[in-house]
């Protein structure tokens, strides 16, 4: 019986290790799928943030532009008001 056990012990170990391998393969697949899911969520969130960033950037551009325009126009209004004052004082 002992001799039989000694002879076939490696095969028993093979069975156990094979079972471990199987568990590991399943675990790897699980990690892969879980990871892919998590990464895809992060990617989606990042894409959303990038889109948001793009829109915000566009708005910033518009804002900067209008501010420049406003600055110029205010300058012109000021000049006009000053010239109006001059006309009034000249009267």
């Amino acid at each position: 019986m002992i001799s039989f056990l000694i002879t076939y012990l490696p095969f028993l170990l093979v069975l156990i290790v094979s079972a471990l391998c199987l568990v590991l393969v399943l675990d790897i697949n699980k990690i892969k799928n879980k990871g892919l899911l998590r990464l895809s969520r992060l990617n989606a969130f990042l894409s959303f943030q990038l889109l948001k960033n793009k829109r915000l950037s566009q708005n910033i551009i518009l804002s900067e532009h209008i501010e420049k325009v406003l600055f110029k126009r205010f300058l012109k209004i000021n000049t006009e008001i000053l010239s109006l004052q001059k006309i009034i004082f000249e009267l």
């Binding site: 518009l62 804002s63 010239s83």
Partner: protein
Amino acid sequence: MNCKPLDMRCKFLIQAILFSSIISFSQNSEEIIDSLKIELNKSQNDNVRAKIYGDLTWYYSSVSTDSALVYGEKAMIYAEKLKDSTLLAQTISDVGVVYYLRGDYDVSEQLYRKSLKIRKEIKDFAGIASLNYKLGNILYKKALPDSSMIYFLKALDFYERARADMIVNSVQSNIATVLMTLKNYDKALEYFDKNIAFFEKNNQQEMLANVLINKASVLLYKTDTIQAVFHLKKSIEVAKKVKAFTALGSAFNNLGSIYNDKKDFKKAKEFILKSIEIRETASLKTELESSKLTLAGIYSALGEFDKAKPILLENIKVFIKEGVKEKLPLVYLQLIPVYAYQSKPDSVAFYTNKYIKIQEEMAQESMQNITSELETKYQTEKKEKEILEQRTDLAEKELNINQKNTQIMGLGILALVLSLLGYLLYKQQKLKNQQLQKEGELKEALVKIETQNKLQEQRLTISRDLHDNIGAQLTFIISSIDNLQYGFKINNEKITSKLSSISNFTKETIYELRDTIWAMNKSEISLEDLETRVTNYIEKANIASANTIFQFNVDSNSSNEIVFSSVQGMNIYRIIQEAINNSIKYAEATSIKVNFKHLNNQFEISILDDGKGFNIGKVEFGNGLNSMKKRAEDIGATITFNSSNDGTHINLKI
């Protein structure tokens, strides 16, 4: 019934069957040998020569055993040289037959066993059966009937499965003979009956006659004299038909012996004389003397001692010459009453002494034989035991080796599976790390972009507050100017004009600010939004310039899915605004068309007027045209200006 004639027939039977094939070819063997020798001289090919040497060994065995041995040795050398196991096994077996014929049973047995080993290795089953048959004969000759029986049964098993009926019968005859020796008469009779049936069916009369005699002998052992006589008479009938003198002589002799035992001397004499006549004709010396001995016995029984004496004296000479020692005591025994009848006490004493001496010798010989047989049996059993022990050892070793091999195999597989496990663990860790790294990178990018977005949002919030304040201030300016204009009834044209100019300019600023706020409040500007905005603008322009006819066309193919970013929408709107403004202000156009078209993934906006146009080469690009060009470049669009005296065409492609 004296058992000696029976023993003789037992011997005869074995020889008759084993050598039947040799006898059948011996008639032609000399011719075959000659033709083989011619072929041997012609051939240079080793394979052919080896085959011829083998054939010569076989054919010489019935002609000259010495020559057969010479050729056998050559055949073995060639077979070993060519590494032809089949030929080697056959040659060794043939040489074994030669030694058998020479009476050297030990060497013959060794050779048969060697050949058997080779044939087992090459799995030549027919050859194995033939050697089992031959070994059966050898062992019977060596007075080992038990072992002999084992080999005969092995051979019988093969030949029965191969349906080789002729050989099956030969083997069965030999088995019957062995059974007779082992005193298993019923079983022996069974086999002889099978033989008789076969030989009758196949019309093999001579063999039938021999088997009938043997069966009669067995019946005599069973004291069934009537049946024995019946079979002997039947044998005589059969033998007469085919002139089988040997069998005929034996049958008559045995019949005579039976009647002699029954004290029917007349009949006994009659059959013995017939036997003598036949054996004389066939020149069967020893057998003839046996018959004569029986006749002498009959004469002695009838009191005719004078007739018995010369026969007995002749018997002594022949038996001594032929080496038939076992018959001599019977002769000496029969001579004692003959000399007693002749009143010769010295001769009586002489033959009595001779009889006692030879009986003693024979008894001693018999004892030696028995001792030898026992010794052989002991040695055989010892060897068998040793072989068994060796086999057990071998089996144990084989088992150990198998176990070790199994262990090694198992360990090998285990190593492989462990490697696989290691690889999987490594892969698992690597995958985890890769995922963590990717996740980290993504999170980092996300944090950066979120921070940036927050900053931009804050900035935009401040901008919106600022725009709201500016909007309020601008409205206040317009309101103040309007109050001044209409509240104080200013008549000075210069002041009125200035105030109107400031008011209009401020209103334009407010419009521009509102347009920008509109664009900033939209995350994206659809074609529909742009259409509405442009329509509003055209309506206002139409109010400002009532003489101008405005047309705004949107291509029905234009997809509602077209969307622009806020910057794109804003710039497109500004370009259209600037173009319409220029047409009214500088070109004095009476008709202005604005077209939206969607062609091959390109969105095209064209503004046409019928104004006085301008010379693109000569006219310097003012702030308006430059502004349009810059806005187009900012949004990655292309803008073209075509102007003549008949009007201007501005085309924007995005």
